[in-house]
Each structure stands twice: as C-alpha cells, then as structure tokens.
Symmetry: D2
Subunit: 250 residues, 4 copies
C-alpha cells in the first residue's frame, strides 16, 4: 500500500543542517515507495495554544478555535501515515515554533476524551535533531514520547542527530541515521497500513473488571506478607533513629 510521509522542518532556515538531513530522510522514504512532502513550519503562522482544554474540554477539537495556518498543517498531518519531525536544538529542546505546533496537535489527541479516537493514532514518526553543542537526545526524547502519548508509533531507530549544525551532511553517522529514519518510517507505515489494526487502544476490556478484583485481593494479601518480612529491617533502624539524628553533621 502506498503511504505518504511528510517531513516538517522546524528550522527557520530552509537550507541549513536540519533541512538537509530531513531531505535525506525524505529521499530514503521516497525510494522506499512513499509519497513525500517537505513542509517548512516557518512558512506558516502558528499561534500559541490557548489551553481551552482546562475550561471546556469539548472546545479542544479540530480544527481548533484559533483560525491560523495550523488549519493547513492539520490537513498535512492527517493526510500522512508517516511523520518526520526535524528540528534545530534550541536550548536542549525543539524550536519554540515547533513547540507551538506540537501544543496545537492536542486537538487530535483530545478526541479521545470526546468519545472518539486520537486522530493521529497509528501514524508512524521519526525525529531528527540538529544542534551545535548538546541537547539533541533530550530534544528527540521529548518529541518521541509526546507523539507516542498521542497514539503515534515509533519504529526502530527512529532518531538521527548531529552537532555539526550547518555541516550536518559531513557527519557520516548522522546522514546514515537520517536516511534510515526515512526508510524505516516509510516501511513501518506500510506494514501498519496493511497489517495494523484500524484501532490500537481498546477502551473496553470486558475481562478487566473481574481480573482487577481478584488481583487486588491477592496483591493486598501478598503485600502484607511482604511487609511483615521487612519489619525487622525497619525495627532495628527505628529503635536507633533518635541517636542517629543527633549524630547528624552539618
């Protein structure tokens, strides 16, 4: 099945290191048979999230109360099975512009609370981070776990990074990793498109309630036994604790 992989460049530069590695990833996805598109986030106005969620749960839904370019970007996200987020490392994190983009994706995930499914559930993502100092992994780790919390799958080796900044293409490992991010995101998106369930999260599990009841009983009983076996350990310490706190040094 033909899949679509969209790469989001979160750098203000269209030809800097971030965009370069993203192009490598998209080229690899294309050669894997995917339709690809490169989107420069800085071409779009993305206003900061208004946090409606905290006031009126139902107000946080597509296409968001804010009428700005996110409406175009929402369509690009929904139209893709694979997402590659490429960002410069700004203070050990995504660029603020990308953070606004991620914040605004809440409309898709919040559909779970409105009785629907997450609109990004089952999509596949990879991340590329380009810095000049440190913080690449902190950035990547942050983005991947955020996306996973929205229901997005993270295939093996879904990350590439360099600290060579504009010279990213001279970093052999980073180039190989970026190409593999594209290749693997495309491949995983194809596998899931063909063999994955339409829905991943099961909101109703009929067996669960009974299981929890019996587990609770058993675990509480056993926990008490466990507790008793530790008691001697504590008793000794607690008897001495007056003394030990007087010994305290400063």
């Amino acid at each position: 099945m033909r899949v679509r992989v969209v790469g989001f460049n979160a750098s203000p530069r269209k030809y800097g290191g971030t965009a370069r590695l993203l192009r490598v990833a998209l080229e690899a996805a294309r050669r894997e048979g995917a339709d690809t598109e490169l989107v420069h986030l800085y071409d779009y106005e993305i206003k900061p999230c208004l946090g409606c969620l905290s006031d009126v749960q139902e107000a946080c839904r597509p296409p968001c109360v804010i009428d700005d370019d996110m409406r175009i970007l929402y369509d690009k996200v929904l139209g893709a099975q694979g997402l590659i987020i490429a960002t410069p490392v700004y203070w050990y994190g995504p660029s603020g512009h990308l953070k606004n983009f991620l914040d605004r994706l809440t409309v898709f995930e919040n559909m779970v609370l409105l009785g629907d499914r997450s609109w990004v559930e089952g999509k596949v993502a990879g991340v590329i981070a380009v810095g000049a100092d440190s913080g690449e992994i902190m950035t990547i780790s942050y983005i991947l776990s955020t996306l996973n919390s929205m229901g997005v799958a993270v295939p093996p080796w879904a990350l590439a990074y360099t600290k060579l900044s504009t010279n990213a293409l001279s970093d052999r490992n980073a180039v190989m990793d970026a190409a593999n991010v594209g290749l693997i995101v495309a491949r995983m998106a194809q596998i899931l498109a063909e063999h994955g369930p339409r829905q991943w999260y099961e909101p109703e599990l009929p067996w669960l309630e009974d299981y929890i009841s019996s587990l609770k009983a058993e675990a509480e009983h056993q926990a008490e036994n466990e507790l008793r076996s530790r008691e001697n350990l504590w008793k000794r310490l607690l008897e001495k604790s007056g003394a030990s706190s007087e010994e305290r040094q400063t």
Copy 2:
C-alpha cells in the same frame, strides 16, 4: 505467530503498585495470545556497568565481562519479542537497579559497532511507571528513547503511569492504559514477527553518496542566497550594537 512478552518489574516490592500494573499488562498480553513471563529484577544481582566500551570497543559484547545474574536476564531479553518495563519512579527516573540493567544491555546494541546488528533490534517495548509524586513521564520518556536507540520499536500508547503508588489498581486510567500496553505490545510484536523485516537498519545505501554530493552543492548554494536575504536584518542591528550594549542594565 506466537510471541513471547516478558515483563520486568524494577521495584523492590513484588506486590506493590508497579508489579500490580505490570500483572495487568501481562494478563492483557496473554489474552492476546502471547506467552508471558514476569521477572522481578530485584531477585537478580546486577552489578554496575564497567564501561569497557571506552577502552576496548570489542570487549563490550554478550555475555558481558561481568559474570553475574545479567547472564540469566540477557537470555530472557533475547527470548522475548515484546518487553514491558515496569518501574517505580525514584527521583524522577527509573530505579537505580533498573538503570544498571539498562546500562548492561549495551552489550546487545554495541554489536552494531562490531559489524553485527543490535541483538534487540525489532523487539517491541512498553513502559509502566508508578510514583507517588511526579516524574512518571520523565521516567517513561527516558526509558523509551533509550530502548529506541538500541533498535527497539515503540508501538502506539506504549506507556502507563499513576501516582497512586501502592493503590495503583484504584487508578482507572492507569489500569486501562497498563492493559493496553500489554495488549498493544503483544499485537505489535505479532505484526512485526509476521510482516516486519528481519533487519531494520540498512548500513549500506548505494544511492546515498551521490545523493549527498548533489544535495550538498544545492543546499550550500541556496543557503548562501538565504544568508544574503537576511543580511539587511543583521546590518541594522550590528550598526546599533555599540549603543545597545551601553544601554545595558544590571
């Protein structure tokens, strides 16, 4: 295809909140058709990593130079297609015992540098974190990105957490999420066992070198144009910069 899902309990308590949610996850995996096993990491001695890697790359390989219980645990990891890591939150991170376990998994990933593949590539993982205060997501994010860097896949919704500690089973959301971690890890492991490639990362991409050369040329040319278009922006600021630095307040 029948898959095996192993749950690792990184709590010192066998019947505390961490273990309880892990049992829920494993029960869901079992009902999904997986063979399951619960391993209490505290039953095993796991010595701290000696960091051989920094001295002699080839020395970091299975079964590790340290002769301790990790040798048993290595087999458990290798024998599983799905891994569920459940940990209490100790200072916003995994328990130190689990950290030692993760550090020692380096022998599998380091095989990449020794000309082989990562021995955990293509396995599927989920994480459960149980705390009493805060730091669940920081813990989960850390573990998921570490595993992904070893080549492990992270399926949608691969995380569950609560801050109810021992009373974890009373946290309805956490219980549902934990069950889904088990269910989804099992399902994704099955999909990948049947349809995933044997190898994900492609260390040789014949098209890459030529592509990089032309991309480099194009990108550098375009970057120069981009640079020029910004020059006016900077010029104005730099002309005024002497003044502005005098205006500095303290």
Copy 3:
C-alpha cells in the same frame, strides 16, 4: 539591598492555576522585601527565534534582530535580580509561547561568545509548573537547566508544581512550595546582590594550562595501568566471543 523579582506567567489564562500559584510566590517575595511585578507573557507578541547564531555569531545580541514585544520583555528581565517562571504543562514541557521566550533569551547568553558576559549571569530563578496529568518535573527540570546554562543561579527548593490545574490553590503542598519559591528566590537574590561576585565565570585561569599538562601526563600513565589490570577480564570474554555469538537466540 532591595531586589526586584519578576514573575512571568506563561499561561494564556490570567486567573488560572498557573497565575494563582505565581501570585502566591510573588506575594511571598514582596513580604521578603522585594519589589515585584507580574508579567503575562500572552499579553506580548513573541515571534519565534530566527537562529541567526548559526549564520553570523555577532548578529545574536540584544535587542535581537526581531522587532517585537520581546524588546519590552528583555528590559523586564534585565531589570530583575529574581525571575520566577510559571508555566502550564503542555505536553510535558513549557507552553510553546514560553519556549519562544526562552529561545529569544539567547541574545543575553550569546554575549559570552562576543567577548562580554552573559547578561543574565548571577540572576536567581525559580519555576512553577501547573498541569492536569503528568510532566511537571520534566518541564521544571528543562527550564531550570536551561536558565543555569545561561548563568542563572537556582536556590534551594526552586520549584513548585501541582496537577490540580485550575484548582491549584487547593493543593496545600503546591501552595507552600510556591510561596517558598518566591521567598527563597527573593532571599537568594538579596544575598547575591550583597555578597556575590559581580562576575561568576572566570574566563582566564592562569594556573590552568600548567595544571592540565601535568594532569594529562599523570592521568594517561595511570589510565594505562588501569587498562592493563582490566585486560584479563576482557581476554577471557574475547576468546569465547565466537562461540557466544553463535548461541544468540532470536
């Protein structure tokens, strides 16, 4: 010495949980003798950073090439000895609007590379994070380490958080912690204003070069001895490694 403590509310709501805890902190700072001010970041337009740094190091300096409301905010930062950042937790991190604010503070820190000092060096900061789910500590940890990397001091207990969202004031611990953030930031700012050095980072340490030379020689010599003592450990493993890699399970 009288100090000034400015609180930055990074929530779109001026009367939500984030703003409420921030008011508590500022009241505590005021009672400690500080002048205080509450700034709602959402009242200001903060455009995303253009990353000039990667092109022309010297272009990244106050007041930034971007002519927007940050110029007002820069003055507020420079005029304060104590900073309290209060943010809602959006996807386990600061609001995107705050991220843009932090990104744009680079102009102060980058002065180090332009031969000056960081313009925020020696200021004192605390952080308040208000969420409804998880990620408070991840948010706080991110902001504190970012500020510290700009030369800002973090006094004891510089953090407060709750997951009660709008009902933050009903979280007794969070309220106490927020009050202490204000109190302690003010107190530390006073101490440093009176007794701290004007400059913290010493860019020239005359003794360093000689010390490094002798340390290098000594450390390399000792490292070799250390290496030799480990050799037997490795030898045994490497001899067996052919075998062990055949034993690999999948």
Copy 4:
C-alpha cells in the same frame, strides 16, 4: 569560612575523562580556598534502594536500613558544603551506580516528612558529564533538578560536559567549564556558609492562609469573566464540530 567540597566520581575508571574533569574542578575549588576530596563511587558497594518509603514513611531515614558502604558515603555528603557529581553518560543518564547513590540519598530529603529539615538543604552542587555521543545535558539536567528537589542550591554555570570521553582534557571549553564548576561551587558554598540562612524552606507562613482565601475568591471571580470572554470563540467551533469531524481524513 572554610568550606569542604567533595567530588564524586561515578565512573568505573579512576583515570578516565570523567575523573580528569573532576580533578580539574577540585583543583579550582582548592585554589579558591576549599578543602577538597575526591571519592570514587565504584570503590564502594551501593545496594539498590528498597523503597521503604512506600510502606513505612519513618523507615526512610539516615543511616538507611541497608547496611552497606553508603554509610561511609552519607558521612562524606554530610561533611561537605559543596558537592560535585561527575558521571559518564550511560544511555543519556547517570551511571546506574550513581543512580543508586542518588536514590539512597532519599534518607536525607525524607527527613522533611519526618518533621525535620532536609539534611542536604543549603548545600551547593555542580555536575560534570562525560560522554562519547550525546545525552550530556539530559544527564546533567536530571541530576541538578533531583538535587534541587532535595534542597540543594545550584550556582550559576554549575555544569560542564564533553563528548570527547577519555580525551576530555583536550576539550578546551569543557576544561574551562569544569574549572569554573569547582571555583563557583566553592565560592557559592562560602557565600552561603557566611550569609545564607540556616534554614531555607519555611514550613509555616502565618500570612498564607488569609492570603489564599482572598486570592481564591478574587481569582475565581476573574476566571469566570475570563471564561465568558472566551465563550464566543468556542461557540463557533462547537456549532461546526459535527461537520468538521465528518471531514476527517485518514
């Protein structure tokens, strides 16, 4: 006042990059007038935390129920006003051995819940991280925020890192930063020893209750107004939401 700065080397190597930068930091502290000591954590057996806290709050207190070498290390921590933690980066975090050390420090912080103060309150810390790839900042950020949550102060520029591993001393920036970590930790420890309060956190604030009551009333009133002003925003969206959810693409 003469202060004591203790450096903890969390690397298994006593002469590797981590230890080298730590020596630089301690030398700088010594030249600043501090007594210094270098402690190799790998020389001590540190068993994993048993998490007594979750069962019996009072059992988590010095000197910990576990009778191992931490008892020696507890004294070293208590005897110091300045702490420098130096760690290799293992999977983007502290070495597991250091994580166990940090977990075990809970006995000091938990004294807060037992009616005393945190026994590490007001100490001053810095962190050095040495890696070969990425994750230095993630490691440092983790350790600094953990220590701050125990009541430890973080002075300006309390961090140094390199990815040159064993060759750390060839990284000019890292060496300068490490020296400044030592110098600044010592200086801040002196300032706080002379001018800091004996107690930072105020557990009783007589003005707080009244203030909260009036703040609550005011904030709730204002929040309602704020809510009303947003209503139109939501209304438009909610009216259209049936339509928009049909437009959804997959």
